[in-house]
Amino acid sequence: MILNPQATTAFPSAEPAGKNGTWWFLASEIPIFGGLIAAYIVMRLGSAGWSEASSHLNFTIALINTFLLLTSSMTIVMAHAAVQHNALKRGASFLGLTILLGLGFLGMKAFEYSTEISHGFLPSSGIFWSFYYAMTGLHALHVLAGIIVNAVLWTQALRGSLARHPHRVELAGLYWHLVDIIWIFLFPLLYLA
């Protein structure tokens, strides 16, 4: 254990603190959905009648929503690339597009909820519906949180203050990808199985 006394500097990690912190935050988010998904799978394997309930879901809307979220993951990467090259206006446009796609997802989801509720499928309508509303509802709240973060960055890009903190778009993008990936798990588990 003979070590150079100057083996580290005052900034020893390869990544800045904000990025390390964001990764730890994402690491703490995964078990929340992991626990929900594991509970859903175990409960579903343990009893019958789940696919019948699942057949009442609107597959088309979910497919369009998948497309919207995947596209928005691309646009936020393009926003990050633009901001890094100091093209703030271009970055603001892509951030705006990301926000619109997120709002589109939430709008479609709200329409889907309202048709399901009008057909009498409530959270209390059975164990599948309980899980469906809990999982998609918690995910929708995460989408909403991401939209708010992106909207703050969008105004900063318009005002120009984002030029001093271009890495913020990358951190918001990491979170936005997580929200996207969670949906990639929820979509087949709820709509296709």
Partner: protein, 556 residues
């Protein structure tokens, strides 16, 4: 003036935040002790008027049992061991000016404050505080008619959710701070063991609490939206909660244990004037224990109705997790072996932690084996066991830490004589409470029953229960010695030197108490933290920031 007043209350200085956590956790410890007193009174003298309170309704008794566990685990142990010592020591021990995210740190504390306010308010709402046990098992927790409460359970869930958010942010801060802010020369294997254990605890908490957050959301939906996740009549399963709860709940045991063990280790090596024995193996054992803590949870559920084939695998993992902890404990004993021990009050409490924890660890082997656990599950044997493990870490370990770092926190020494009296009273009365409690449990007394005298087979235990209650009251009263010492020393104690214990870690290389940015000039680290009694040095300690040239110069 008013702006400086608010900046002090909403401080972003990690040392001030640590003291805020200390204040709040000591407040909760008083409430926790009061609930313990009322519980013990009811067990010893069922359905009589408790001194200073009055008659304890059965519904209130259930609330007291629930809140005692909730308060002691989530509002005393966690803030004291993680937030107070983690916040105060991590930046100082790594030679940093503050946390990586000071504002986030303040936010963590104020979320915890809000959580405390919600939980405290729940005592006073109609229907009283939550009464489903600190584990919140449904169906009791899922429907108010089973416990007779109204708003208490929802407030309990809200308080826990806020608390978890607070500790998640705190853990992110601990980890990022240590990754990014270490002083020059401070490599990972030059970090004090306490920092390693705090970080491992933060990771364990972060990766285990998620499923319980999900579980709490489902329970809130069951209570308020008519879902049936945990209700068998709607296709749900109460066992689901038990799995989600204990998937967090058992790792949580190690979240509390590791910082306590870390404090014990730091104190013991200083007062033994010897390097920690097996430094790297201790760190590896800590990481292994952290991993194993995720696969032992169902040992809380042997008689819950889960698939009995699961009992043996979980028994085996539970026995295996004692191996890394045995390694750590034996290393501590080897550190003490042949050393020049000075029995100052921090050392007394550290040795108390060691002795009491070993006792609790040994009864854990009984509980961990399914065939034995089937007989002692949900009895006072289990209650006695987890008080031996938790009380040792939270109170003996916590007091060791407070007596040891008090001079650094407040710039004054605590009184030695009062500290020693406090230790011996606490040690004597603690054992007088909890050794007989094992016996009560082995005779079959169940936990959480409001009146043991209703059961014919428990009537012979009445005098033993009265003895335990008397000892418990004396245990609580003897803490007055600490309270007096704490406040008297803060105002009138002897002014502390920068390094009163002649210790090596970086927090002792700055002033007592440290200035706002901790170090007058950024420290540079040349060595590991445990260079005690080096043969080539005149003094028996060699601080981490002393270069080899300086050591040789001193020796010459």
């Amino acid at each position: 003036m008013s702006s400086s007043w608010t900046s002090r209350i909403f401080s972003t200085d990690h040392k001030v935040i640590a003291k805020q956590y200390l204040t709040l956790s000591l407040f909760w410890a008083v409430i926790g002790a009061a609930t313990a007193y009322l519980i013990r009174w009811q067990i010893a003298h069922p359905d009589t008027e408790a001194f200073g309170w009055g008659y304890i309704e059965p519904q209130v008794y259930n609330s007291l049992v629930t809140m005692h566990g909730t308060i002691m685990v989530f509002f005393v142990a966690m803030p004291l061991l993680l937030s107070v010592f983690g916040n105060f020591l991590i930046p100082l021990m790594i030679g940093a000016k503050d946390m990586a995210f000071p504002k986030l740190n303040a936010l963590s504390f104020w979320l915890f404050f809000l959580s405390s306010a919600v939980l405290f308010a729940s005592f006073f709402v109609p229907g009283g505080a939550a009464a489903a046990g600190w584990t919140g098992y449904p169906p009791l927790s899922a429907k108010n008619e089973y416990t007779g409460g109204a708003y208490g359970m929802d407030m309990w869930l809200l308080a826990l959710a806020l608390e978890f958010a607070s500790f998640l942010l705190g853990g992110i801060n601990f980890l990022t701070t240590t990754m990014n802010m270490r002083a020059p020369g401070l490599t990972w294997f030059r970090l004090p063991v306490l920092v390693w254990m705090q970080l491992t605890a933060a990771v364990i908490f972060m990766l285990s609490v998620g499923p319980l957050v999900a579980g709490a959301i489902l329970l809130l939906m069951d209570r308020n939206l008519g879902t049936t996740f945990y209700l068998a009549d709607g296709g749900g399963d109460p066992l689901l909660w038990q799995h989600l709860f204990w998937f967090f709940g058992h790792p949580e045991v190690y979240v509390l244990l590791l910082p306590g063990v870390g404090i014990m280790l730091e104190v013991i090596t200083v007062f033994a004037r010897k390097p920690v024995f097996a430094f790297r193996p201790i760190i590896y054992a800590t990481i292994v224990a952290g991993f194993l803590s995720f696969i032992v949870w169902a040992h809380h559920q042997y008689i819950s109705g889960m698939d009995p084939r699961l009992a043996m695998p979980f028994s085996i993992t539970t026995i295996i997790i004692s191996v890394p902890f045995a390694l750590i404990i034996f290393s501590i004993i080897a550190t003490l072996w042949g050393s020049n021990i000075s029995l100052k009050s921090p050392m007394l409490f550290a040795l108390g932690t060691l002795g009491v924890f070993i006792f609790g660890g040994l009864t854990g082997i009984f509980n961990g084996s399914a065939p034995v656990d089937i007989y002692i599950h949900d009895t006072y044997f289990v209650v006695a066991h987890f008080h031996y493990t938790l009380f040792s870490n939270v109170f003996f370990g916590g007091f060791a830490g407070i007596y040891f770092w008090f001079p650094k926190m407040f710039g004054r020494m605590m009184n030695e004589t009062l500290g020693k009296i406090h230790f011996w009273l606490t040690f004597a009365f603690f054992n007088a409470v909890f050794i007989p409690m094992h016996l009560v449990g082995l005779r079959g007394m169940m936990r959480r029953i409001a009146n043991p005298m209703q059961y014919e087979f428990l009537k012979p235990l009445e005098s033993l229960n009265m003895f335990i209650t008397l000892m418990a009251i004396l245990l609580i009263l003897s803490q007055a010695v600490f309270v007096i010492n704490f406040f008297w020393s803060m105002a009138r104690g002897a002014v502390a030197a920068d390094n009163p214990w002649q210790a090596n870690t970086l927090e002792w290389s700055t002033r007592s108490p440290p200035p706002h940015d901790n170090f007058a000039s950024p420290p540079v680290v040349y060595r590991w933290p445990y260079d005690y009694s080096r043969p080539d040095s005149l003094s028996d300690w060699t601080p981490q920031d002393r270069s080899d040239d300086n050591v040789r110069a001193t020796a010459r």
